[in-house]
Symmetry: C2
Subunit: 266 residues, 2 copies
């Protein structure tokens, strides 16, 4: 039996998409790489840890979930690495949890939230919160025609003009790499990416969400100035706690704005 | 009802593992990043493409499968990127297909096969085929204590002393990064990793397989000499076809050796 009368498969699919755009957002997944960044939001939204995990046995991934206003909120944190005991940061873990969360939870929207480095030359200051307009990689150099563009992997964030206007967030391009520091080659690629902020997960989340067609936005708070005088690691650790407060405030405002709205109203 | 009499859960689990080690390997997954590397093996093992994909709608991942001797063989190729039309190389795609293949196919063994750069200073020559003893990342620099070790992410390959002795393969350590070229920072990390060969997927496959506890080996054929005179991309493209023949010969020999054996006999 055809679920959409005499429509073709293609037309039926398009109709489902349009229908989804018209109903209020119901389930969101917030991908956060570090526990320090995640826990204040877990408390704020009064989420509980999923002890009977939706994820396979053996992975350290943690899901916090609950109902906040009219939203089913899932904060997905890749957890502590079993071998080393540190947060499972970076693109591999981020892509895996994004994939598994989409497969398991079928969210209407993904929010990748976290801290980032900022470039003062592009107007970033410590504590600024950015809504990234796009995400690309800066450490996947493949100097073969077309492979070079695949490596950069530029993807647009889901367009949210009303959200950007309503909240006092800055807009800027995000560049992603698996190193906390920045080599000369990274810097050249970041400049080519025209990036204002630099993180370790965004472009990987964008890649997976694009594969599986889930709208995704990026909320990133600046912990360190990459083109400043202080060493990145030191500045990052110094500002992590205070900037996390700014991040959590912004994510809460974003979630409050999203509540009750359709995806097309963002 | 307890499936293992009065044994504790832990003991039961250990018993299952020992039992698995005693029965012949049944299902193998061969993760191969490039179509050029995969297709000769697809023909050799007379595999057919899985048109009713075990993977979610929207992903470009391709599974070729069939029965060869006493083995269920699955060659998993991450496919052509839908946007750029090139092979989906690199750690993000490799980790995703490894995860999805383990979840879907529950293999007894994973073989990550592919081409690699080799270091002549460590004894590598064009056309050499290596069985990697370990895999680590060289482009995940996180200069914070313990995070630095997480970034390197060193993992041992499944130990296969009999396989190594039987076939004329070289042994060496593998280092993985998402760039085809090599920056100074990459080089320093590769030297720290004591690597003889360099690829773009191995350590990511190792990471996921380790999370989900699937034994994994790495068969890598050298297409270019990284510490030689020729530009990597040029040498890689020049030798890809001929070295792929050596790779395929080696993978066939590995599969023939595996056939009928238990995992503990490798």
């Amino acid at each position: 039996m055809a679920p959409h009368g005499d429509e073709s498969d293609g037309g039926g699919e398009a109709a489902i998409v349009i229908e989804a755009e018209k109903r209020p957002i119901s389930t969101i997944v917030i991908v956060i790489a570090m526990q320090t960044e995640a826990l204040p939001l877990v408390n704020k939204f009064q989420l509980t840890e999923d002890l009977d995990s939706v994820f396979p046995k053996g992975v350290p991934w943690v899901r916090y979930h609950g109902v906040y206003k009219e939203l089913n909120i899932n904060i997905i944190w890749p957890g502590k690495d079993f071998t080393f005991g540190v947060d499972s940061v970076g693109t591999v873990s981020a892509s895996l949890v994004t994939y598994a969360a989409i497969q398991t939870l079928q969210p209407d929207l993904i929010i990748n939230a976290g801290t980032a480095g900022g470039f003062k030359a592009k107007g970033a200051c410590i504590g600024d919160v950015f809504l990234a307009s796009s995400a690309a990689f800066h450490d996947r150099r493949i100097p073969i025609p077309v492979f070079d563009l695949y490596g950069v992997g530029l993807r647009q964030a889901f367009s949210t003009p009303n959200l950007l206007k309503e909240l006092s967030l800055k807009a800027g391009k995000l560049s992603t790499g698996d190193s906390l520091d920045m080599s000369q080659q990274d810097e050249a690629s970041i400049i080519a990416n025209d990036a204002t902020i630099k993180d370790m997960e965004g472009a990987a989340v964008a890649y997976v969400a694009d594969l599986l067609k889930v709208p995704t936005i990026f909320v990133k708070a600046v912990t360190d100035i990459v083109d400043g005088d202080k060493p990145t690691a030191e500045e990052f650790l110094q500002n992590l706690a205070s900037v996390t407060a700014a991040l959590d405030k912004a994510v809460t405002e974003v979630v409050d704005f999203i509540n009750g709205k359709c995806i097309s109203e963002l």
